[in-house]
């Protein structure tokens, strides 16, 4: 009864998120060197990036556990955390200090992945509940 596409998506999401985190961090470093990036604007961006990493780890772990043990509680919690991750991703897409084209691309991919995951999670929860 566990959803195989959802599990595959979790796995791919994990790998992609590692790449996303490193790329965003590298781009923030690049921006701070090339553009004028005072500390008042740099610290919120970095803080939110690290919070996003923590949330992502939690989200993927809970979702994977819920999917494999066929329990809806961790899966539901993971869905709630996904909402937070989506908001953070939208921040990096729109409200960051400098939004580069590369930022737009990787955040768009991440949002697409989140959307797909959310749909599959809802389907899986419905399957477990019934």
């Amino acid at each position: 009864l566990s959803s195989v596409p959802l599990q595959i998506l979790f796995y791919v999401n994990g790998i992609y998120y590692i790449f996303y985190f490193l790329a965003t961090l590298a781009m923030i470093v690049y921006k701070s060197q090339v553009f004028s990036y005072p500390d008042d604007f740099l610290s919120p961006d970095l803080t939110l990036l690290f919070i996003m990493a923590v949330l992502e780890v939690l989200r993927l772990y809970l979702g994977s556990k819920g999917n494999l043990t066929e329990e809806e509680a961790p899966l539901g919690l993971s869905l709630v955390i996904t909402v937070g991750s989506v908001i953070l991703s939208v921040y990096f897409l729109v409200w960051q200090t400098y939004v580069l084209k590369a930022d737009v691309i990787i955040n768009a991919v991440l949002l697409f992945t989140y959307g797909l995951e959310s749909v599959l999670k809802v389907v899986a929860i419905a399957a477990f509940v019934s």
């Binding site: 004028s36 008042d40 400098y98 580069l100 084209k101």
Partner: protein
């Protein structure tokens, strides 16, 4: 008219807004209302002017190239057409790089911020921010805590550091000194803890007696060192022939006045004594004056100034080096008070020091008349590193008795108070008994043959002080340390003279400094050992 003045004050604080429209931006448009040559973007140029251009000096005007898409104005000359004309195109330039700025939420990022125009309200704040040799690149408006300076520094009394000029109410405490030439310059500030003594010449005349500020007492005690007033400690009056008398009451301020064709109460010397605490605050200031008089013929006087610093609640003992002795400074010596047990660990001074540096360890000073008995006890201090020898001639007649003569000669050679201990370092404190070297006394006799009857008179004829010192401390900066002091008194027999005859024997005293430092040996670190061991079960199956 007041309306325009009010309007001028109400003008906006910043300068004109920056031009960001690329179509209107033209950097080669330098001449106003005239056409610049080869400037294709100049609005003052007509089509006829464009036909005369050869090239466009500014071919393209774009915005920030980091942006993903930006407007660009392209100017070029169309040489094919007849007559040649200018072509102006406004296009969107796309930055193909994936790291182009898509959007930014930070307004100041893409253009230079226009600086504030100084007005009477913000002038002080702008001067404080930008008035020094360097300032931060980010203006204060970006910094959250601008008003976070601690105001407690303002009310604290000033703490002085070595060399910092002593501040008075209006300027600095002045110690006039000769600059370039010997004439006095009043602009020399006195530095904290810098003991100075200067002499300089000032031009005076009897006619301008009361007008010259720098020869009146008021000039030197008028300024108060912040919270401390300068008090008058003593006044010495020097007469025209050089005789000085100390005045009894020193509270009266004596200003220069003309008396009997002389100008009296002229300041010839000032000595400042400043008392400070160990926290670096000045708590007392006193000045001692030497006042003199000048007559009509005097055109200039020599003034001498001195300043000395004393720490409160201490008795100053001048150091002879820190820590090692400095060549040329007197050797410090002291006594052990009577009835003092030894060794001791106490907190108060175990040794009584002679604070007068010229009466510590002294040697007989040769005088112009070389008669020992008329020497009047002139002594000179022993300076470290300077070997000295001095002496006098003793005329012995038959009438002289042995014992008083011996005593007189001993007093002559050793002085009134010959110390018992000598400081091994230039800065040895009286409390550290172990830092002091006892003076060893030796007696030798000139006669090699030991006289069986000792009843003959032995008089001391020479005192030789040998100071053995060594180099102590690091190789690069060795400090001199006195290790041993030996005072050797050589005696000789005084043969009875037939009456009426006189004999002259020389009496000498000398000081010799011997360097007994062993040559320095460099020390090397031990060679590193290679610690290669196999693990203990390396040959497992076999061992």
């Amino acid at each position: 008219p007041p309306e325009t003045r009010a309007a001028a004050q109400a003008r906006p604080r910043s300068g004109p807004a920056p031009v960001t429209d690329v179509a209107k931006l033209c950097v080669c448009d330098l001449l106003v209302a005239e056409c610049d040559v080869n400037c294709c973007c100049d609005p003052d140029c007509s089509a006829a002017d464009f036909s005369l251009f050869t090239t466009c000096s500014v071919p393209i005007v774009t915005g920030d190239s980091h942006l993903c898409s930006q407007k660009a104005a392209i100017y070029s000359l169309d040489v094919e057409a007849n007559p040649p004309g200018r072509v102006f195109k406004l296009i969107d330039q796309v930055n193909p790089s994936v790291f182009c700025i898509h959007a930014t939420n930070y307004k100041q990022a893409l253009s230079f911020s226009s600086p504030e125009m100084p007005t009477s309200e913000n002038f002080d704040q702008l001067l404080k921010q930008f008035g020094s040799a360097s300032f931060s690149a980010e203006p204060d408006s970006w910094n959250m805590n601008t008003g976070a300076q601690n105001p407690s520094d303002v009310n604290e009394t000033y703490r002085y550091e070595y060399g910092v000029p002593i501040q008075t109410v209006d300027a600095f405490l002045r110690l006039p000194s000769p600059v370039v030439s010997s004439w006095c310059s009043d602009a020399n500030p006195a530095g904290f803890l810098v003991n100075q003594a200067t002499k300089c010449i000032r031009s005076v005349s009897v006619e301008k007696c009361g007008n010259i500020r720098a020869v009146s007492m008021l000039f030197y005690i008028n300024s108060s060192i912040l919270a401390v007033n300068i008090t008058v400690q003593s006044i010495v009056v020097q007469s025209l022939n050089g005789m000085r008398t100390l005045l009894n009451g020193s509270d009266v301020l004596r200003l220069p006045i003309i008396l009997d064709e002389l100008c009296i109460n002229i300041v010839l010397g000032v000595t400042y004594h400043i008392t400070y605490t160990d926290a670096g605050e000045i708590i007392e200031a006193a000045a001692s004056f030497v006042l003199g008089a000048i007559n009509k013929e005097a055109l200039s006087i020599q003034q001498s100034f001195e300043i000395s610093f004393t720490q409160v609640n201490t008795k100053p003992v001048p150091l002879s080096g820190n820590p090692g002795y400095v060549v040329g400074l007197p050797i410090r010596a002291g006594f052990r008070p009577q009835g003092y047990p030894f060794p001791v660990e106490i907190l108060s001074a175990a040794l009584v020091l002679n604070t007068n540096k010229y009466s510590q360890l002294t040697i007989l000073q040769s005088t112009s008349n070389q008669d020992c008995l008329a020497a009047q006890g002139a002594r000179t201090p022993i300076l470290f590193g300077y070997n000295m020898i001095s002496g006098c001639k003793l005329r012995i007649s038959a009438a002289m008795k042995c014992q008083p003569l011996t005593q007189t000669l001993l007093d002559l050679l050793k002085g009134q108070s010959f110390p018992e201990y000598v400081a091994s370092f230039g800065n040895s404190q009286a409390q550290d008994v172990l830092d002091w070297v006892p003076i060893t006394h030796l007696h030798t006799s000139e006669q090699r043959i030991c006289n069986t009857f000792q009843s003959s008179c032995q008089i001391p004829v020479s005192l030789e002080i040998e100071v053995k010192w060594t180099k102590y401390g690091s190789l690069v900066n060795p400090q001199a340390r006195i290790v041993n002091v030996t005072a050797t008194i050589t005696t000789t027999t005084l043969k009875q003279l037939p009456s009426g005859r006189e004999r002259t024997i020389p009496i000498t005293s000398s000081v010799v400094f011997t360097d007994i430092s062993s040559p320095a040996e460099p020390g090397y670190k031990a060679w590193p050992t290679i610690n290669a061991k196999l693990p203990f079960d390396f040959f497992f199956p076999f061992v």
